[in-house]
């Protein structure tokens, strides 16, 4: 008994050691960045750490009329001190996101206060330096920028904002974008999944039931593009589909389309869908193929011998058995397409962009990483929910990627 236990322990230790590199790899490259991103979407301590005294003074302010002289003095002195340490700029950009123009208001006022410390009223001196200090909105913006734990980014990511009294309001019409973009991303992903399934199902059937030599050749035709660089495949679509591209040239030469009315096939939604279907098709074909190979052909013959038509046999015998492959392929293609970036960025033009383009924009251009993280968080939640529903409806253990 004791020996058996010892052996079991040793085996468990060995197994743990073998799995350890993978576990560490996943923790470092996947779990940790994901956690850091989710933290960033609600936790923004930069302004609170920079302006502790101003925010303490503003916490007692009623928000209906201008702050008192004392608050002006504390804030002004803190701005000057921060600017000397070169830390006011990053505070200014953060406040500026809530109220355009506050960047130069903060920096300009700090500089004029540093040049000449107010002899009497700080309030008058600051309003003289920049009239924005006479507006309640400026102070509200500073107070809101100072929240350490904030739902702001999630609200913004859902086209919401908070009004003066903290109530949740919908953004004005010309600033609403994320919800419609999210819906568009969902719709395009569903469309891509559907098209992929329609194209892949017959092809996978051919692959699974053709004679070995022909099946090998067909499989090669599926795999060669799969192994080709993503960028090469996407740019070849540009060559094919652009205004002066191969397809338009052909249509014009054949007289189907007039020279002046070349079709807009790329840099729009069409371009995104065509290129993404092509890129993601193998992810549908391969799971389908591996499931279909395990479906005995005799089942179809048996159905036929029992009097089923081809269509009935396909619908009632073959399709149910191929469902795990359909589910696996669809889930894979859908999850991949919902977060896809590079292909829509290259061929999507104005109307074919997905939510990923806004995440990239906030990461790279506006440096609003909190908002980018919130958008990513919402996407993650969405995929997680779908996965949960899928598990409830189909059962994750029924999904098979290989026979």
């Amino acid at each position: 008994m004791a020996i058996a236990l010892k052996r079991w322990n040793r085996q468990a230790l060995g197994a743990a050691l073998l799995v350890a590199p993978l576990a560490i790899f996943v923790a470092v490259t996947f779990v940790a960045p994901l956690a850091a991103m989710l933290v960033r979407s609600v936790y923004q301590p930069a302004v609170a750490e920079a302006l502790p005294e101003t925010l303490a003074a503003l916490a007692e302010w009623d928000g209906d009329s201008l702050p008192d002289e004392e608050t002006f003095r504390i804030a002004g002195a803190e701005f000057v001190a921060l600017d000397e340490r070169r830390a006011l700029g990053s505070v200014a950009t953060r406040v500026n996101r809530l109220q355009s123009g506050m960047r130069s208001t903060l920096l300009g006022t700090a500089r004029s206060l540093a040049a000449e410390t107010p002899a009497a009223s700080w309030r008058e001196a600051m309003i003289a330096a920049d009239a924005d200090w006479g507006a309640i909105e400026s102070w509200l913006a500073i107070r809101r920028a100072g929240e350490v734990i904030t739902p702001r980014y999630y609200l913004n990511a859902l086209d919401l904002d908070r009004g003066g009294a903290g109530e949740i309001v919908v953004q004005p019409e010309d600033r609403r974008i994320y919800v419609s973009l999210l819906l568009r991303t969902l719709l395009i992903s569903i469309a891509i999944t559907g098209i992929c399934l329609l194209l892949a199902y017959p092809l996978a059937w051919l692959l699974a039931h053709a004679r070995p030599r022909r099946a090998g050749l067909l499989l090669l035709l599926v795999l060669v593009p799969f192994w080709t660089s993503l960028l090469v495949r996407t740019t070849s679509w540009i060559v094919l589909l652009q205004n002066q591209g191969v397809i338009n040239d052909l249509l014009v030469t054949l007289g189907i389309v007039a020279e002046q009315q070349r079709l807009a096939l790329i840099y729009n939604m069409t371009g995104t869908i065509v290129a993404m279907v092509h890129v993601l098709l193998p992810f549908m074909i391969l799971p389908l193929y591996s499931i279909m190979r395990t479906i005995p052909e005799r089942h179809m013959q048996a159905a036929a011998s029992l009097g089923a038509s081809h269509w009935q046999a396909l619908r009632r015998v073959y399709w149910p058995q191929s469902l795990p492959g359909v589910a696996a392929g669809s889930l894979l293609v859908f999850i991949l397409s919902i977060g896809y970036y590079i292909t829509p960025a290259l061929v999507g033009g104005r109307t074919g962009q997905l939510i990923s383009s806004m995440i990239a924009y906030h990461m790279e251009q506006s440096l609003n990483w909190g908002l980018a993280a919130a958008l990513g968080g919402i996407l993650l939640l969405l995929v997680g929910t779908l996965f949960f529903i899928y598990d409830r409806l189909v059962g994750i253990d029924r999904m098979r990627l290989g026979g």
């Binding site: 070169r86 830390a87 700029g89 990053s90 200014a92 950009t93 500026n96 996101r97 355009s100 123009g101 506050m102 960047r103 130069s104 920096l107 010309d174 600033r175 609403r176 974008i177 419609s180 973009l181 568009r184 652009q242 205004n243 002066q244 840099y267 033009g349 104005r350 109307t351 962009q353 806004m358 924009y361 990461m363 790279e364 251009q365 506006s366 440096l367 609003n368």
Partner: protein, 366 residues
């Protein structure tokens, strides 16, 4: 294809550069990484600044390309792992990076004086740099067209870019609000000196977007500066906004049938900054000092039509190295090109850039 040739030369040079870099790194451990925009402008930077700097100081310089934006700089500074030393930045980007504490300050007093002794503080054009930028260049965003596509009456004014009736066909436009909002207002009849005051009001912004709406369905968007000449050459568009230097190079080096409409040009400045916390601060400062000299800034104009941001350097602008043509008439600052020219207000953009980008993104998605 003539367009490809210089590229392969550049690449082989880059490999050579990498080899030299490895050798140099082993020997001295001091290699400067300079990041710029690549393409024909990157080649100009290499020939006008990098090669003479390496010859004078013996310091190896490795060049990298990027498309603008501050994300990589911020990631390097935040993680304390700085491997870019000097980065070429547009002035609005430099101002923002300087505010965020991503760049070292560059003091005007540390920059070299002009040959006649005028200190740098008086020699630089006013408002041409951020507090973190070295000497820089003036470039213009202009409208360019392929004159083979307009054999009878070519477009000649900024208004023609928005005139689909007289000049039908697709338009190229950079996928950012900067320059496009200004162009829309100018073409809608707003005088030069009232453009930013108009943009300061909600009604003014709405007016700019309404003007853009009139050509929205015909716009093809570009992102990298090398794209517009390619789009014109492929006849993908009949007119496009572009950087004047890229069009100039396509004209003189590739004999492309392009014409620049200088009317309504928008002038912007750019200049390199030093990434905060670089372990190679000393050689980075030497590079900034070198390229800020009037003769270095003027040397760029031997390769591309961007003018220096220093008065004394403007006087030294000479002729194009490869073709020998006089460069002055091709510069954004040439009097003939300045009849209606708008200077980009980077302070306005630093304050309103985020909001305008958001509204532009909304406009794009509709």
């Amino acid at each position: 294809m003539p367009a490809r040739k210089p590229h392969s030369v550049l690449q082989s040079r880059r490999w050579l550069g990498l080899g030299l870099w490895l050798l140099g790194a082993a020997a001295a451990g001091q290699t400067l990484t300079l990041v710029s925009y690549g393409g024909s402008y990157g080649r100009a930077v290499e020939q006008a600044w990098v090669e003479p700097f390496m010859a004078e100081t013996g310091i190896e310089v490795r060049m990298e390309d990027y498309n603008g934006g501050l994300a990589q700089i911020r990631a390097q500074v935040e993680t304390g792992n700085v491997f870019w030393d000097v980065v070429d930045l547009t002035t609005p980007d430099a101002v923002r990076a300087c505010d965020e504490g991503l760049l070292e300050f560059v003091m005007l007093a540390d920059l070299p004086a002009a040959a006649d002794g005028t200190p740098a503080s008086e020699d630089f054009l006013p408002d041409s740099r951020s507090e973190c930028s070295g000497g820089g260049l003036v470039s213009a965003t202009i409208v360019a067209f392929n004159h083979q596509q307009f054999p009878d009456t070519p477009p000649s004014r900024l208004e023609d870019f928005f005139d689909l009736e007289r000049f039908p066909g697709r338009r190229g436009m950079r996928r950012v609000p900067i320059a496009n909002l200004e162009f829309a207002l100018l073409a809608d009849g707003v005088p030069i000196d009232a453009v930013y005051a108009t943009l300061d009001t909600d009604a003014g912004v709405a007016r700019a977007f309404a003007k853009l709406d009139t050509i929205k369905d015909e716009i093809v968007f570009w992102e990298a500066g090398a794209q517009p000449p390619q789009m014109l050459a492929d006849e993908e568009v009949v007119m496009t906004t572009a950087y004047n230097g890229r069009i100039f190079n396509a004209q003189v080096l590739e004999n492309q049938p392009f014409t620049i409409i200088w009317d309504g040009q928008l002038q912007e400045t750019s200049g390199p900054g030093i990434v905060l916390g670089t372990p190679r601060l000393e050689i980075a400062r030497r590079f900034i000092e070198f390229m800020s000299r009037p003769e270095s800034l003027a040397a760029i104009s031997k390769y591309i039509s961007y003018s220096p941001t220093r008065h004394s350097a403007n006087a030294m602008v000479d002729s194009h190295r490869e073709t020998g043509i006089a460069m002055s008439p091709h510069m954004p600052s040439a009097p003939a090109n300045m009849k209606r020219a708008l200077i980009s207000d980077w302070l306005w953009w630093a304050d309103n850039g985020d909001e305008m980008n958001e509204r532009f993104a909304v406009w794009l998605s509709r």
